[in-house]
């Protein structure tokens, strides 16, 4: 079968075949890389510095990580608010929901079990 030339108009090809829009641009990839490097560098600095209030560092790292994931999604995976992207965004929202349920739910349940667990020494005392 002959390949459809990229220059041909939309009328002489079947619907949905040969739509060749470019994905992203050099500028968007470079901006994405710059943001990602900045956020990664910030994560390393935040984790190593002693200038910050220690209990807050974990939350800061989480925020930086989520920001960097957003940068990757927008600049590298090209998740946007465009019309052709609605399904991708909805699927992403569902994925985030499931991931949150799995991670937060596991941590919650296991922490609860751990708190209600009788220590081995207490069991020994009860047996005596």
């Amino acid at each position: 079968m002959a390949e459809i030339p990229a220059q041909s108009g939309p009328k002489d090809r079947a619907p949905g075949i040969g739509e060749n829009e470019a994905t992203g641009s050099l500028t968007s990839y470079t901006i994405g890389l710059a943001f990602a490097l900045l956020l990664t560098g910030a994560s390393f600095v935040v984790s190593q510095t002693s200038l910050l209030w220690a209990p807050g560092v974990s939350a800061g790292l989480a925020v930086l990580a989520i920001a960097q994931m957003g940068v990757h999604l927008v600049f590298f995976l090209h998740i946007s608010t465009g019309r052709d992207n609605t399904n991708n965004v909805l699927a992403l929202a569902f994925g985030v929901l499931i991931v949150t349920l799995v991670v937060a739910g596991s941590l919650w349940i296991i922490a609860n079990l751990n708190a209600n667990m009788i220590s081995p020494s207490a069991i020994m005392q009860m047996q005596q």
């Binding site: 002959a2 390949e3 459809i4 939309p10 009328k11 002489d12 090809r13 619907p15 949905g16 075949i17 040969g18 739509e19 060749n20 829009e21 470019a22 994905t23 992203g24 641009s25 050099l26 990839y29 470079t30 994405g32 890389l33 990602a36 490097l37 990664t40 994560s43 390393f44 935040v46 984790s47 190593q48 560092v57 974990s58 790292l61 989480a62 930086l64 990580a65 960097q68 994931m69 990757h72 999604l73 590298f76 995976l77 019309r83 052709d84 609605t86 399904n87 991708n88 699927a91 992403l92 569902f94 994925g95 499931i98 991931v99 799995v102 991670v103 739910g105 596991s106 941590l107 296991i110």
Partner: protein
């Protein structure tokens, strides 16, 4: 393909525009990317289970070495840079193939391969060093969770490198056809998604663990 004269009347009577919002069928490229995106999300959900396991077990060292003693952040920083730049060169390769610049595509994907292989080599040397220090996956629950989580990411990177080699060979033999470029798009989505998982891994496992 049929002659333009045969399709002209059809096209005039039914003005089908290939966009998802215009009422007609969505372009194949959009549909393929959506399907692959669903796969990637299911992959991320699988990772989330291992992340939950690691978060629960990270303190259970059974008297063995802790994360603080084991992780070398300089090593991890190099790994992170390798993955970030390989993501960038992968994106540049995709741009090059869309613009039919085959030479630039080969250079970008060769760089992507080298950076990915460097990452994998560093990770394997880290694992080998830990096992040599009697901190293998059987030492404690913490280390079992660590090796499954980081090892699964490493396995994904290995599979990605294999796929990359295959796609370069396919581009060389078949040229930048529509279906080859769709597969390259899927590969780039996979490679960028691995980077997203690495960001979570870096933060939860290494940066929070080394403190």
């Amino acid at each position: 393909m049929s002659a333009p004269a045969a399709t002209a009347g059809f096209a005039q009577s039914l003005p089908i525009t290939p966009t998802s919002s215009g009422g007609g069928p969505a372009p194949v490229r959009i549909v393929v990317a959506f399907g692959f995106w669903i796969f990637l999300l299911s992959d991320i959900i699988m990772f989330s289970a291992l992340f939950a396991a690691y978060a629960v077990l990270s303190g259970q060292t059974a008297g063995g070495p802790t994360s603080r003693e084991l992780f070398a952040l300089r090593h991890v920083a190099v790994e992170t840079l390798c993955l970030l730049f390989s993501s960038y060169t992968c994106g540049l390769g995709l741009l090059a193939i869309e613009r039919r610049r085959i030479e630039a595509f080969y250079v970008s994907f060769a760089l992507t391969f080298v950076l990915g292989a460097t990452f994998l080599g560093l990770e394997i040397s880290e694992f080998a060093g830990m096992i040599a220090r009697a901190a293998g996956p059987s030492r404690s629950a913490f280390l079992s969770a660590f090796f499954s989580l980081v090892g699964l990411h490493g396995a994904h990177v290995s599979a990605g490198l294999l796929w990359l080699t295959f796609m370069v060979a396919q581009t060389a033999t078949r040229g930048p056809r529509d279906y080859v470029r769709r597969r390259l798009l899927c590969f780039s989505l996979f490679w960028h998604a691995l980077d997203i998982i690495w960001v979570a891994l870096l933060t939860l496992v290494y940066l929070m663990g080394a403190r």
